[in-house]
């Protein structure tokens, strides 16, 4: 391969990464800018992070967002697990296709439509909007993702394993908990982290579903940016970014460890001669 081609490839790769990550890098760098002006570098400082701790409004919103993400991800993972079990294990019940479609609908539904639908629903039932409606909205949004992730894992796990467990004296529930659940545990962790980050990031559904007193962090950031970019916003955004990166990194770690384990199995199987005799 000629040097020119190799150089061109590296340049393309570099441009790609630049395009994807330059805005985020600039945001993170600017959060350490001592100057109030976004366009001028005034030296390194962590004063905006210190100022964050004083900003009651932002901290309150951050707490709301974290609480909503933790609770909604837990509920969405549980519901997703139940939905996946019914789709994977209960055979062809009569309304299966309808249920399958209904569970997956939010995947393709425009978020604005889903948000508006939730708002209309809350108003129609006379439910006061606040933290609880926010959590309900996020469960609605994220449950389809958790169902898809868990369903895929459940389909991969062999139903004969559960039969074997029952044959050996485990009740159907016991067989599921002791045998099927360990098989799909990585998928459940992944589903939870996915739901958590989706909820933490969400602006659209939150704008429709929440009410006064339960303003989420993305909503707070968005409303403040309209008044001008402040370095404090850069700082909180960088923290948010770090949190999401950690969550997604964990999810990737869980699934890659699983993949590596399976990979090892393949190679060791290929290597080991049949030494049973």
């Amino acid at each position: 391969m000629s040097a020119v081609v190799s150089w061109a490839r590296r340049a393309t790769l570099f441009m790609g990464f630049l395009f994807l990550y330059a805005p985020i890098a600039i945001l993170a760098v600017m959060s350490f800018n001592a100057s109030r002006l976004v366009s001028v570098w005034g030296g390194f400082s962590t004063k905006w992070y210190a100022a964050l701790l004083e900003n009651e409004q932002l901290l309150h919103s951050a707490k709301i967002s974290l609480a909503a993400a933790l609770i909604s991800a837990t509920i969405a993972t549980l519901l997703g697990l139940l939905a996946a079990i019914s789709l994977a294990r209960f055979g062809r019940f009569r309304t299966r296709m309808l249920f399958f479609g209904a569970v997956h609908a939010p995947l393709v539904l425009p978020e604005v439509v889903l948000g508006l639908a939730l708002l209309t629903c809350f108003v129609a039932f006379g439910v006061g909007r606040g933290f609880i409606t926010l959590v309900i909205g996020h469960v609605t949004l994220t449950m389809c993702f958790t169902t898809v992730a868990i369903l895929a894992a459940l389909r991969d796990s062999d139903p004969a394993l559960e039969e074997a467990a029952m044959d050996l004296g485990a009740t159907p529930f016991g067989a599921f908990v002791r045998v099927a659940l360990p098989q799909i545990a990585p998928a459940i962790v992944t589903a939870y982290l996915l739901a958590f980050t989706l909820s933490l990031d969400d602006l659209v559904i939150a704008s429709f579903a929440t009410g006064p007193g339960a303003t989420t962090l993305p909503m707070r950031i968005y409303s403040q940016v309209r008044l001008g970019v402040s370095p404090q916003i850069n700082a909180i955004s960088t923290l948010l970014l770090a949190l999401v990166a950690v969550a997604l990194g964990l999810a990737a770690l869980v699934s890659s460890r699983r993949a590596r384990r399976d990979g090892q199995v393949m190679t060791s199987r290929a290597r080991a001669p049949d030494n049973a005799s």
Partner: protein
């Protein structure tokens, strides 16, 4: 035979329009090695799953030691199953796989450890207790599956095609191990297989099944030497079907298109149309002398024997096995002889 351990009475099962089992009745004794033999789709696996409790019969009863099993879920039946795919738990090591059934029963840790170690020793896996399942070879997995199913001391062990996943050499070795373990544990084994050699080699008694029905239940030698139906004769081992008319006068014989074949008439009436099933190795092959004349059309060397295809009439070819050391070339004239007890007379099937 004393009271049967397992008694299956008139069991029927349908899946939609497909009849899987039709009026099946069987009695299995304690400590017996029993085989359900048949081609795929004959209902043998369905019958096994009915015994294990994963399917429930539409009609009929299954009773174990006199206790009706209908409505009893799999986890309360003292019957364990060894799955065709082995279905070993991948997140548990060998020891914990074997201990799974014992832990469900409760019991002291020491007792469980002792029982698991006993089974590890019996299946020659003592060194592998802490191995992960995916670190085992096919033969080792098979033995873990066997040990796991035997651990809770079931009254009956069901084995679904236990040797299907093993290669030929390992399979023969494992057959001896299975027999030995069955003898040591004094447990009833019920094996499901489509492999006639496996059934003949392992079982004390065999039930040959076809399209949801039991065709014949008998010991391996009787199944082979005295098949009850044309299907059994054709499915178990190689055979020749010779059609003709029975003549009972004097020495009984079947009058076939190409000659007169001596046979045991049984209770067939004189002049009845019947089919004689004769195994290739029961037919004597000679270069000259008495017997039915034919021409060697083709041959296959099988090691201890050579299988000849001999044309005895323009439209009839018989298979006969020549002993070791006898050489025949294509086109050689031969004489085929039939000792009186060589074949079994079967009814004409419509």
């Amino acid at each position: 035979m004393s009271a049967p351990l397992l008694s299956i009475k008139s069991v029927s099962k349908k899946f939609g329009a497909v009849i899987a089992l039709e009026n099946v009745s069987l009695d299995l004794g304690a400590g017996e090695f029993f085989a359900l033999l048949g081609p795929s789709g004959c209902g043998k696996t369905t019958l096994m799953r009915c015994i294990a409790g994963f399917e429930s019969p539409d009609a009929g009863t299954i009773a174990l030691s006199g206790v009706d099993l209908s409505g009893v879920p799999p986890y309360r039946r003292p019957v364990n199953m060894m799955f065709q795919s082995y279905a070993l738990f991948p997140h548990l090591n060998v020891f914990e796989n074997i201990a799974f059934g014992l832990r469900r029963q409760g019991g002291k840790k020491d007792a469980i450890d002792a029982r698991v170690n006993e089974l590890l020793a019996m299946t020659q896996l003592s060194a592998f207790g802490h191995r992960r399942i995916d670190e085992l070879s096919g033969g080792q997995k098979q033995r873990v599956a066997l040990a796991r199913a035997l651990a809770p001391r079931p009254k009956m062990l069901l084995l679904d095609e236990p040797l299907a996943a093993l290669d030929r050499k390992l399979r023969e070795e494992t057959q001896f191990q299975l027999k030995e373990i069955q003898r040591l544990t004094q447990t009833s084994f019920v094996i499901v297989t489509h492999d006639q050699d496996e059934a003949l080699a392992l079982a004390d008694r065999i039930a040959v099944m076809r399209a949801g029905r039991v065709e014949q239940v008998a010991g391996p030698m009787e199944i082979y030497d005295r098949p009850a139906t044309r299907f059994v004769a054709g499915f178990v081992g190689e055979t020749n079907f010779i059609e003709g008319r029975l003549e009972r006068n004097g020495a009984a014989a079947l009058i076939a298109a190409f000659g007169r074949i001596p046979c045991e008439p049984g209770n067939f009436p004189d002049g009845a149309q019947a089919t004689l099933s004769v195994r290739p190795e029961r037919i004597g092959v000679a270069r000259e002398g008495e017997g039915i004349a034919g021409v060697v059309e083709n041959f296959v060397f099988r090691g201890e024997t050579t299988l000849l295809r001999v044309r005895v009439a323009s439209n009839i070819v018989l298979r006969a096995a020549a002993g070791h050391g006898e050489r025949h070339a294509i086109g050689d004239p031969v004489r085929l002889s039939f000792p009186p007890g060589a074949g079994t007379l079967l009814k004409e099937e419509l």
